[in-house]
């Protein structure tokens, strides 16, 4: 087995498991803040999956995609936090 196969059969399933836990919290989460925390974690796991998939597919172009996702995910979280703070309590 090459490294690509090991990543495909070991690392990506582990990351998918973490994605499953985070998705449960997005669906269940009692308040909006819990859901935003879970979406933040999903963005981080997405970056990890994209970066690992660059090894599997041997295309280094995916690294650029991961960089853009990292930039936009931060802005999304900040916007959500601002919106929660401004809403009528």
């Amino acid at each position: 087995m090459t490294l690509a196969a090991w990543v495909l059969y070991v690392i990506l399933p582990l990351l998918s498991l973490a994605l499953l836990f985070a998705s449960y919290r997005v669906l269940k989460g009692p308040t909006i803040a819990d859901r935003v925390v879970a979406v933040d974690l999903i963005t981080t796991i997405g970056i990890a999956i994209i970066v690992c998939f660059a090894i599997v597919s041997k295309h280094t172009l995916f690294i650029d995609v991961a960089m853009v996702v990292a930039l936009t995910g931060f802005l999304g979280t900040i916007a959500f936090a601002h919106y929660i703070e401004q809403q009528k309590g």
Binding site: M1, T2, L3, W6, V7, V10, I11, L14, L15, L17, A18, L19, L20, F21, A22, Y24, R25, P30, T31, I32, A33, D34, V36, V37, A38, D40, L41, T44, I45, I47, A48, V51, C52, A54, I55, T60, I63, D64, A66, M67, A70, L71, F74, T77, I78, F80, A81, H82, Y83, I84, E85, Q86, Q87, G89
Partner: protein, 140 residues
């Protein structure tokens, strides 16, 4: 069984540590009883995990300098932004009147001094209260 050379082995070990840390972050998000404990788990463990995963991929693509530079940029960016977003979310979550603390929490220093409905502190004087009670522009 492990038909990997030394570089691939190092890369795989680093990726595995990172993936395990991210699974721990997800497990904490799933099991913890309270918003602030969940945030503590996800922020710290996922930053550590993504750092190790980026290091593993950088070991794999070590000959390709632009790619390694981009990976370092991703790691530094996440290292810088994760605390900022966690701080803003924690502040917003504490101000939200719907957020419940876990029943076993015994340090909450603002509990008796902060009005979560009016967003005022007991230590505010008249002028500060007037500013806090000003009507904010409606969000559309």
């Amino acid at each position: 069984m492990l038909e990997l050379n030394l570089r691939d082995t190092l890369s795989f070990i680093s990726l595995l540590i990172g993936a395990v840390f991210i699974v721990i972050a997800g497990l904490g998000l799933y099991r913890m009883p309270d918003l602030f404990m969940r945030m503590s788990m996800t922020t710290k463990a996922s930053t550590m995990g993504i750092g190790f995963i980026v290091i593993g991929v950088a070991i794999h693509f070590y000959a390709d300098r632009p790619v390694v530079t981009k990976l370092i940029a991703i790691a530094i960016f996440i290292l810088l932004t994760a605390p900022v977003s966690a701080h803003m979310l924690g502040r917003a979550g504490y101000r939200d009147a719907l957020t419940k603390l876990w029943s076993g929490t015994w340090v909450d220093e603002l509990h008796d001094q902060y009005n979560r409905r009016q967003h005022t502190l007991d230590s505010m004087d008249e002028a500060e209260l007037a500013i806090a009670n000003q009507k904010k522009p409606e969000l559309t």
